[in-house]
């Protein structure tokens, strides 16, 4: 026989306190959720508020001009960022050209070939690579890669090549982790079907797995490109900081990001606004890239 203790309860009518309380909590959490949208909104408003008027005043020659001689007042300076745009692009494309094949190969290795012990060592290593601060990468590049380039090719060593190497290393974790997931997500039936027909492991990888995972792999590359274009500190330390179009891989260069970081702390007046304008250009670039990445990763690729 169960003895019922005297628990509160029995009031089955819904009380307003309960409703109001739950509503309040829901509202607070909604505000938290919207914070990301609000954050982007704030960033755009403030950065654009400084950059867009300058862009309007400077006109298209801002993007096409090759001479960058900033000054406090608009009239006294020459505002052309074309070499920076070229610099950002060259540095990014090169980094991806080096980093993507290596990263994809490593991803395939992790997903298909590596024995468990090796995987247990490699996966935390990729995570560790992802965690290294950019300034430490730049530090390493400045003290190891740059002297090596100087020794091999002459010149100062701070160059396009230095940026390529260090940026390639920096985007490896992005490409590796996303590509590994993509390859592992390919349904087992595809792999088994191929092997069952007598194809070798490599043939299966090349003709079945990689194409099937291609949309994820491409998305990872585009994300890597976004990282490379947005990277500041490492590039700042080893690019040579020369607002010129580089004539060779060992020539110095400058990027949109590096120039902003370099000059921002002592720029005033029109010069400061010009840097914000560069920020706007950079922002638009990144938005385009992110949009591309999403488009690609949503398309289902048939093969």
């Amino acid at each position: 026989m169960v003895v019922r203790s005297n628990m509160e309860g029995g009031k089955l009518r819904r009380t307003t306190t309960r409703v109001v309380g739950e509503r309040f909590i829901q509202w607070v959490l909604l505000v938290c959720a919207i914070s990301s949208i609000f954050a982007i909104f704030l960033i755009i408003v403030f950065v654009f508020s400084q950059g867009v008027p300058f862009l309007a005043e400077a006109g298209p020659s801002f993007l096409t001009g090759s001479v960058w001689l900033p000054a406090d007042s608009f009239a006294a300076g020459t505002w052309g960022i074309f070499p920076m745009i070229v610099g950002s692009l060259i540095v990014t494309v090169g980094a991806v050209a080096i980093g993507a094949p290596l990263g994809i190969a490593c991803a395939v290795f992790l997903a298909e070939i590596a024995p468990p012990t090796v995987r247990r060592a490699l996966i935390p290593s990729v995570n560790a690579l992802a965690g290294v601060p950019s300034v430490v990468y730049g530090f390493f590049a400045l003290l190891v890669i740059v002297p090596w380039i100087r020794g091999q090719f002459g010149g100062f060593g701070t160059s396009v090549l230095a940026c390529w190497i260090i940026l390639a290393i920096m985007i490896l974790p992005t490409i590796i982790s996303i590509s590994t997931d993509s390859v592992r997500a390919v349904p087992r039936e595809f792999k088994e079907g191929s092997l069952a027909m007598g194809a070798t492991r490599w043939q299966t990888i090349r003709s079945v797995l990689i194409p099937a995972a291609s949309s994820g792999i491409i998305a990872s590359i585009i994300l890597g490109m976004g990282r490379a274009i947005g990277e500041t500190m490492a590039v700042l330390l080893v690019c040579g900081n020369s607002v010129t179009i580089p004539g060779s891989v060992v020539a110095p260069v400058s990027t949109l990001t590096a120039q902003i970081a370099l000059e921002m702390n002592y720029a005033t007046g029109a010069h400061q606004q010009a840097l914000f304008a560069i920020g706007v250009v950079l922002f638009v670039f990144i938005l385009i890239l992110t949009g591309l990445a999403n488009l690609v990763s949503r398309r289902r690729v048939t093969f």
């Binding site: 959720a33 490599w202 043939q203």
Partner: protein, 282 residues
């Protein structure tokens, strides 16, 4: 026959890629640690940097600055991201709002840190000068919060999603309110994942430089309040490399940073392991 040879060559190349990645990491870590570890001793960690950048001093104030700035970032980003994740996962279905918020978080995550720095400069250092003290710990930390938020939001949302639906039903079926279910069953179950997300976000904040460059001020003294300018470790390394001749302290600072990052990597790995074990009742 040719296929067999191509097969071995290809597999060999893939092995090479894996090993190369490992080697790259080891080389970088080794270079920093071999040169930097010997410099780390109690004196190094507890003395302040020399004003003129003399080497052989210490990095105490920079350590304090890094901790302070990261702390501010976490204090702001944690409630917003965890609260937001709870809202997205528990109070909405797959509506447009949820997709927009997720997209916004992704865009935010992709914004280059220098642009966050530009924004932080305008908003926190200039516009809100009266509250933040201009270039300061507060300005730097608040700017960093923008970078921690998307990481923590994504991982928190995934952790909450991983909580099985039966647990929610069981809790509600016993007469718990929605909020009670969240705080007593769902959050505790998802907690290791959420904490991992926050730790990873903290790692990002610790390693960030460009945004700090434009918002923290770079002053080398020990901070007395959140409105004082400061120089976190990452910024200190940059300053040493670009202004001073003797780069020894940069090695030591970088080594400390690397150790912090390695510790974070291990802790998050361990936490994720325990999390999956707990869900299985071991």
């Amino acid at each position: 026959m040719a296929a067999k040879r191509r097969e071995t060559a290809a597999i060999g190349l893939l092995w090479g890629a894996g090993i190369a990645t490992l080697v790259i990491l080891i080389v970088i870590l080794a270079y920093i640690l071999v040169n930097g570890l010997p410099l780390i001793n109690w004196h190094f960690l507890t003395t302040n940097p020399g004003i003129r950048g003399e080497a052989g001093t210490g990095i105490y104030s920079t350590i304090v600055a890094t901790i302070a700035v990261t702390g501010v970032a976490l204090l702001v980003a944690a409630p917003l991201s965890v609260g937001g994740a709870i809202y997205l996962n528990e109070y909405t279905k797959e509506t447009l709002l949820r997709k927009i918020i997720r997209q916004a978080a992704e865009v935010l995550a992709g914004i280059p840190s220098i642009i966050i720095g530009l924004f932080g400069f305008l908003f926190f250092v200039i516009y809100l000068r009266a509250y933040t003290g201009g270039w300061s710990v507060l300005s730097g930390g608040l700017a960093l919060a923008f970078m921690v938020l998307p990481i923590s939001l994504r991982i928190s949302e995934e952790s909450l999603k991983a909580v099985p639906a039966e647990l929610r039903e069981g809790s509600l079926g016993l007469g718990a309110t929605k909020w009670q279910s969240i705080t007593t069953v769902i959050l505790p179950t998802a907690l290791p994942g959420i904490i991992t997300g926050l730790i990873l976000g903290a790692g990002r904040a610790i390693g960030e430089t460009a945004a700090i460059l434009l918002t923290a001020g770079g002053a080398l003294g020990v901070i007395h309040s959140l409105q004082d300018p400061c120089c976190p470790m990452t910024l200190y390394i940059y300053n040493i490399l670009t202004e001073y001749n003797d780069t020894r302290d940069a090695y030591g600072t970088a080594a400390v940073l690397i150790i912090a990052i390695l510790a974070i990597t291990f802790v998050t790995d361990y936490l994720m392991n325990r999390y999956t074990k707990k869900l299985k009742g071991l």
